[in-house]
Symmetry: C2
DNA sequence: ATTAAGTTTCATTAATTTTTGAAAGTTTAA
DNA sequence: TTAAACTTTCAAAAATTAATGAAACTTAAT
C-alpha cells in the first residue's frame, strides 16, 4: 500500500471510530490528519486536504484546542496560524479520558448520588428494584471514575504494566 | 423526591448518557425503564410510559435483545410478549463492553495492523510520523483490547479488587 | 378457514446534527 | 489611518439519524 493511500485509510478509520463514540467525524479526521503530519498545518492546508469549508475547519480546530489535543503555533514574521497535534498517544488517551469524564461521567454520578438518597417503602417492589439498580450502577460508575482518575495521573508504562500484570 | 420523579430522572439521565456514547436515546431509555421495573413489561406498557410509537418500541426492543441486555418472556395462556431486563449491573457492563469491542474496536485494530505493515523511506518525515502514530495507537488499542477481554471474562468483585488494589 | 390478538416492516416525516459560505471582526504592517 | 491578510461567527442548507403509523404479516384459538 502506498503511503498516500495508507494516510487516507487512517483518516477514515479514525473518523469512523470517532463518530461511533459520539465525537463528530470531522473533528476526528482533522485530528487524524494532524497526527500523521510531521509539521504544523494551516487552516487552508486542512480545508484543502479534507475538503471542508473554512467555517467547519475553524470550529473543529477550536474544539480540538479545547480538548487539549492540538495547539496553535505562530511563526516569526508570519500572520498565519499553524496547528500542531500532540503526538504522544498516551497523552491523547488521558486527555480524552479526562474530558469525557468531566463532561459525561461526573454529571451522571452526581444524579445517581441524589437518586440513591431517595427514600421509599422497603416493601414496595417498585422501590426496591429502583433502589437496587441505582445503587449498583452508582457503585460501578464510581469504580470507573476512580480508575480513570488513576489513569489520568499515571505514567503509561506503569499503568499498563500494572493492569496487564493482574490480567496476564 | 418522590419515587415517580426519581424514576423519571433516572430514565432521562440514562438516555442522555447513552446518546453521548453513540447509543440512541430511546434505546437507553427503554433499557432504563426495564431496569427499574420489577416485572417484565409489554410493548404497550413501554409505548405508554415513554410516549413512543409502536414501531419505535419494536425496533428498540429488538436492538436491546441483540445486545443481550433484555429478554423476551412468554406467559402461559397469553399471546402477549413480555420484556425483562437483566438487573445485574456487572453483566450489563460486560455485555456492553463485549458488543462495542466486537463492533468497533476489533475492526479498527484490524486496519491498524494493516497500516502498521506499510513500508516506506525511513528518511521521509511524512512516513516516519505516520508510522509512529499508527504503531503507537495500535499498541494502545491492543492493550485496551486485552483489558476488555479480561473484564468480559471476569468476576466482578475480583476485577475491581484487582484494579483498585494497584491504584489505591 | 376465519378471525382476533399481537408483531414486524418500511416508506414517509420529523428532529437533530453537521456543514457551508458570506459577512463581520481582528490584527498587523506600511 | 488604511488595507490586506487572516480569523471568527452564525443563519441557512444539507446530511444524517430517529420516529411515526398504517399496512402487512404471523400466530393460535375457535
Amino acid at each position: 500500500m502506498e503511503l498516500a493511500e495508507a494516510r487516507q485509510k487512517f483518516i477514515e478509520a479514525w473518523g469512523k471510530l470517532g463518530s461511533e463514540w459520539g465525537i463528530n467525524r470531522t473533528m476526528a479526521q482533522v485530528h487524524a490528519l494532524l497526527l500523521i503530519s510531521p509539521d504544523a498545518l494551516t487552516t487552508e492546508d486542512i480545508m484543502e486536504q479534507l475538503s471542508i469549508s473554512r467555517g467547519n475547519a475553524n470550529m473543529t480546530l477550536r474544539d480540538l484546542i479545547n480538548w487539549n489535543l492540538i495547539e496553535k503555533q505562530h511563526r516569526p514574521g508570519e500572520r498565519k496560524e499553524y496547528f500542531y497535534a500532540d503526538k504522544d498517544t498516551w497523552n491523547i488517551a488521558r486527555q480524552v479520558a479526562k474530558e469525557r469524564r468531566k463532561r459525561e461521567l461526573d454529571p451522571v454520578i452526581k444524579i445517581l448520588d441524589e437518586l440513591s438518597k431517595v427514600k421509599g417503602d422497603a416493601k414496595n417492589p417498585e422501590f426496591k428494584t429502583f433502589n437496587k439498580s441505582v445503587t449498583d450502577i452508582n457503585k460501578l460508575a464510581k469504580n470507573v471514575d476512580k480508575t480513570l482518575e488513576t489513569m489520568i495521573k499515571a505514567d503509561e508504562s506503569w499503568f499498563w504494566k500494572s493492569i496487564l500484570k493482574i490480567f496476564k
